[in-house]
């Protein structure tokens, strides 16, 4: 598994660090990560998608506490995964951190923070991205 994080995740740095997405120039719908074509306008959106950043604020649509964790997440287990509806419209899947599970409710307001997501072993690349904290 050498080098996967290095290149495959590097391409998306601005989206994972800064919530860089895009917006349909025709209907205004937001996307994060950016999409090549608007799901509402289809071909009429080609060439009209504009860069747009999300503010980083949203609300919890659903969440779970993961006990059987993905590889490389064992040190954080159990951890909270959530689907968050960002204020601009798109929904994201991300961890909620710095709180206990009892504090999280459907509808809780959250804000994005910059955290370490994982690393490719002790000698590999470290990858960072968004997680969320309760407001």
């Amino acid at each position: 598994m050498a080098g996967k994080a290095g290149v495959r995740f590097w391409r998306e740095t601005s989206s994972r660090y800064n919530l860089a997405g895009n917006r349909c120039g025709k209907c205004g719908r937001f996307y994060m990560p950016p999409r090549p074509v608007c799901l509402s306008c289809h071909r009429e959106s080609l060439g009209k998608m504009e860069d747009a950043r999300l503010k980083g604020t949203g609300e919890v649509l659903s969440f779970t506490v993961v006990h059987e964790s993905a590889r490389n997440f064992e040190l954080q287990s159990p951890y909270i995964m959530a689907i968050i509806r960002m204020d601009e419209g798109p929904a994201l899947t991300a961890q909620i951190v710095d709180c206990s599970p009892q504090d999280v409710k459907i509808g809780s307001r959250v804000s994005a923070v910059f955290r370490k997501i994982g690393e490719e072993g002790k000698s590999g690349v470290i990858y960072y991205g968004y997680k969320f904290v309760l407001d």
């Binding site: 800064n18 040190l75 710095d98 370490k116 960072y128 997680k131």
Partner: protein
């Protein structure tokens, strides 16, 4: 052009471990240790935190307060002795995270606990000369002490960032000077996990000599005396040394109060003086003068003569926490969780 602080940001992780919890593991007297070191507890980074994430949090706060776009930053320097990579600068990741890339210069600094202030000096030079408009200097650490070593009680985690510029300043840096020698008081060899130190050698010939020499030099060049300053921030490897250094130079304990954080969050190494300064700026009023002297083992001291401007009150700091509120929001952990978070347990499992 005169350089100064446009804005600043800070971050302290929320976990704390009490001196007593560490002492009990190593069979030392908890009360005596806490009293002797002047440290009650220290901050501990979470499993998903490292110098990069701490630096980004502090940097983003500084940028938010400045209200400037990322491309206004012409340099990012991060000082630390616990950069996650030995080669690949923390500064590039911070630069990306504040959207300052690609037209900027960046590098990482190392000078034990004064890497952050060295970064401030470098930014001062770049902005004063007109080479760049703004420079971001960050001091951040997730320092470690060997298990059972006295340093384990104080080595902690934190970050503070300073956006340096020549306009719209919340504080002017009227003068800076440094005192640098080759002194082996505390070091870590390449590839080694924990630092080593010279025991009592770290005192008089190291910390005290450099702080006193540098501090006196700054006072002389400024033509000022300790009572001219409202506040003083000293490097704080424990809760005792800074008070003694202050007294030697003629400063009073009250002047150190807002900037002395080690007793509750431990020694945040490259962030120690930067955080102390940030905490002081949180309460400072226009016209206040702040005397700052950082110390880094190896060894050197950086001193700064700072004057707070009117802008400190008008800058919008809403939605960004004060250093005190970061200190107050805490979760106590025990030695077992601490050891797990700090990688002091030999984990098994798959390939590394």
């Amino acid at each position: 052009m005169a350089a100064g602080i446009v804005s600043y940001g800070a971050y302290v992780p929320r976990f704390r471990i009490a001196t007593e919890s560490i002492a009990n593991v190593w069979g030392q007297d908890p009360v005596a240790m806490a009293r002797g070191l002047g440290v009650q507890s220290k901050s501990v980074p979470g499993a998903d935190e490292d110098v990069v994430t701490l630096a980004v949090a502090a940097a983003r706060m500084a940028m938010r307060r400045a209200g400037l776009p990322g491309n206004a930053v012409g340099a990012v320097y991060v000082g630390s002795e616990s950069h996650p990579y030995a080669v690949k600068p923390t500064a590039t990741i911070v630069a990306e995270a504040i959207e300052a890339t690609p037209l900027l210069t960046a590098a990482d600094f190392e000078f034990a606990c004064k890497a952050g202030t060295a970064a401030i000096q470098a930014c001062m030079g770049l902005v004063s000369s007109g080479m760049i408009g703004h420079g971001l200097a960050v001091g951040a650490d997730t320092s470690q002490g060997a298990p059972g070593d006295p340093l384990e009680y104080s080595a902690s985690a934190g970050a503070a960032a300073f956006l340096i510029g020549t306009r719209d300043l919340v504080a002017l840096i009227d003068r800076t000077c440094s005192f640098t020698t080759d002194t082996p008081d505390f070091w870590r060899r390449e590839g080694q996990r924990y630092p080593r130190h010279g025991g009592r050698f770290t005192g008089a010939p190291a910390y005290f000599r450099h702080i006193a020499s540098c501090g006196r030099e700054l006072l002389e060049r400024s033509g000022s005396k300790p009572s001219d300053y409202t506040y003083a921030v000293f490097h704080q490897p424990n809760g005792k040394f800074p008070l003694r250094a202050a007294e030697e130079l003629g400063f009073k304990p009250e002047q150190l109060k807002p900037g002395l954080l080690t007793p509750v969050i431990g020694n945040t190494y490259s962030a120690a003086v930067p955080l102390g300064l940030a905490a002081t700026l949180d309460v400072a009023k226009p016209g206040d003068r702040i005397f700052v002297t950082a110390y880094g083992s190896g060894a050197g001291a950086d001193s700064f003569d700072i004057t707070v401007t009117d802008r400190i009150l008008s800058q919008d700091r809403t939605g960004t926490p004060t250093v005190q509120s970061l200190i107050d929001r805490k979760v106590m952990i025990d030695y077992a969780i601490y050891a797990k978070l700090r990688g002091k347990l030999l984990l098994g499992g798959g390939a590394e």
